[in-house]
Symmetry: C2
Subunit: 347 residues, 2 copies
């Protein structure tokens, strides 16, 4: 790929095709874009581009369509991420400001992203594993029934019910509460387990009766909390929005919409599709067959990581047909991730 104009032609093809959803011909190209050459010249370039596998013709008498390889070149070299307008920025900030809790933040982000991109938006809830413990609360609902509330730095709250065999006094509970919070507040989840276990079996304590009872309780609480922390089921929590945007692609229902609808049900598949979270404003683009699933060879993913302090705790992005507005999507994804991270910072 040497020629400079050829790249412009490819860019023009991609832009036109994304806009019109129809194969684009040489004549239409020179008209709509200001390339100062004749259709014939463009045809030569197109022939070369096709030779190199960047575009393809659905059939002889139709225009050209970008291939995955063509889109790839486009996003890698032919596009500069266009910044959001001031108005858009204000809209994003305003929309996210009003959120009352983590659920709300995530669902607002999802709606926002789907509206900005007119695609299906996917937002993963912040992972447990790399966040820190903010507070642990023990509540006696009944003499032998405890509610454990685990509050994380991301604002996420996990709760577990725990039935114990012996009645628990309010004093025991209070002391255990203090003990636990001293031990784990501010500690990363991954390391909190060890701290909890050490409370349950302190090395220096004699084996008399009340101490044993306290330890049994502490052990049970510790185990439940550890279980909640390691609950990777909840790592798979995601929020999906903008499904109705798929309606725009009703024509390619079987090749694009149907597989995507199915993938959206399988959260595990979806998360794998989104890929590893990338930090620092880096947006990942996965085009068509580049992804791990054959059935989704008509689907692209634009994603990035987010989290407080630019540490990528979770992924967020949009999913749609390969024929999508990559620059716009990338800009929107990056902007939402940035604002979302900022909100998590503050909280």
């Amino acid at each position: 790929m040497q020629n400079e104009r050829r790249l412009s032609v490819l860019r023009a093809i991609v832009e036109d095709y994304v806009k019109t959803e129809e194969p684009v011909g040489s004549k239409a190209l020179v008209e709509r874009h200001g390339l100062g050459v004749s259709p014939a010249t463009v045809r030569n370039d197109m022939a070369a581009l096709e030779e190199e596998g960047y575009i393809t013709a659905p059939h002889t008498s139709a225009g050209r369509v970008p291939t995955d390889k063509g889109y790839r070149l486009f996003v890698d070299r032919l596009t500069t991420v266009k910044p959001m307008t001031a108005a858009e920025k204000r809209a994003i900030a305003g929309f996210l400001e009003g959120a009352v809790d983590l659920d709300d933040v995530v669902s607002r982000s999802t709606r926002l992203l789907s509206q900005l991109t007119r695609q299906v938006a996917v937002v993963q809830y912040p992972t447990l594993s790399r966040s820190t413990v903010r507070h642990v609360e023990l509540v006696a609902l009944a003499p032998t029934r405890l509610l454990l509330v685990l509050i994380l730095s991301t604002g996420r709250v996990e709760q577990r019910l725990l039935e114990v065999t012996e009645e628990v006094s309010e004093e025991t509970l209070a002391s255990l509460r203090t003990q636990i919070n001293t031990a784990v507040a501010g500690v990363v989840i991954a390391e909190a387990g060890e701290a909890l276990r050490s409370i349950a079996r302190p090395a220096d304590q004699p084996a008399d009766q009340p101490a044993a009872a306290h330890d049994t309780l502490a052990a049970a609480v510790a185990e439940t909390l550890i279980e909640a922390m390691n609950d990777h089921r909840s790592d798979e929590r995601i929020s999906i929005g903008g499904t109705s945007n798929l309606a725009r692609f009703g024509d390619s229902f079987d090749t694009a919409v149907r597989p995507l609808l199915e993938a959206l049900e399988e959260h595990v598949v979806l998360l794998k599709l989104m890929g590893e979270a990338t930090a620092g404003g880096l947006v990942t683009v996965r085009i068509g067959a580049e992804g791990p699933y054959q059935e989704l060879s008509q689907t692209s993913v634009v994603a990035t990581g987010y989290g407080p302090g630019d540490e990528a705790l979770a992924t967020l992005g949009v999913v749609g047909p390969t024929r999508m507005d990559y620059p716009g999507s990338m800009a929107a994804v990056r902007a939402v991730a940035r604002y979302l991270s900022r909100i998590l910072d503050e909280a």
Copy 2:
């Protein structure tokens, strides 16, 4: 509608049409069902049924299709809800048993329902307004930053952050916590607000300095809690699943799938569509144009209420094209609602 056989014919038409998705003719009818009469006879009956508006012919040389009115008669008089098989019951119970918290219960129910019916399932989270307060927890995250956790009888947890102007001591917090819980534990949401306000401005207290501080704090906490309780935004929380089942109806994309996809995004629309929750095992069926939305004249809703003690706190059901398996859907909806209510009873 007098003739007995005509009803059988209608039933046969509905069943066949739902199964084959194609207009059904007189000949096919007598073959597939054991009506002991000739096609000609059936034709006469069909003519009568059409006259009365229960069925209609898409065009002259095609078979017949049930009208909304036809489906209505079918669900009202021609169907006995078939009970779930023992295996299905076990599957339902087993599937719901494993849930760890309310979120999990709801999302499992959704998945379950969509799998049983092969339709789009919608489950509304239990409403705040008619549930009772189980516990209120106050946590000092920082000297001037409080986390309020509101735990309801349904297992639902609402949390709010509250910034206060003056530092709060642990003792003040503890006493306020006790006060609040004494006042509102077990009280219905609707009445809890009054109880909270009375804590904030006790009639018999002198106006000296520390008391005033305590009152300011109490008032702030009370208002935040009341706001959380009256947050009808969270009444609109719903869980949706089985969207990919819409893929089966790819043919009627524009008339059925697209409007439904759009409605699924609009939670308010969806809730209105599901209608008032009905208690006591009563399943509501809303067929096509019977619903409030013209664009959804091709969709039916099968829904019922659920909640602890058979009090309908929320709605759950399935949404799909009018051409749906009503008996099966009704049975599944009823069964899931029943098990779900039972789980809420236990918790």
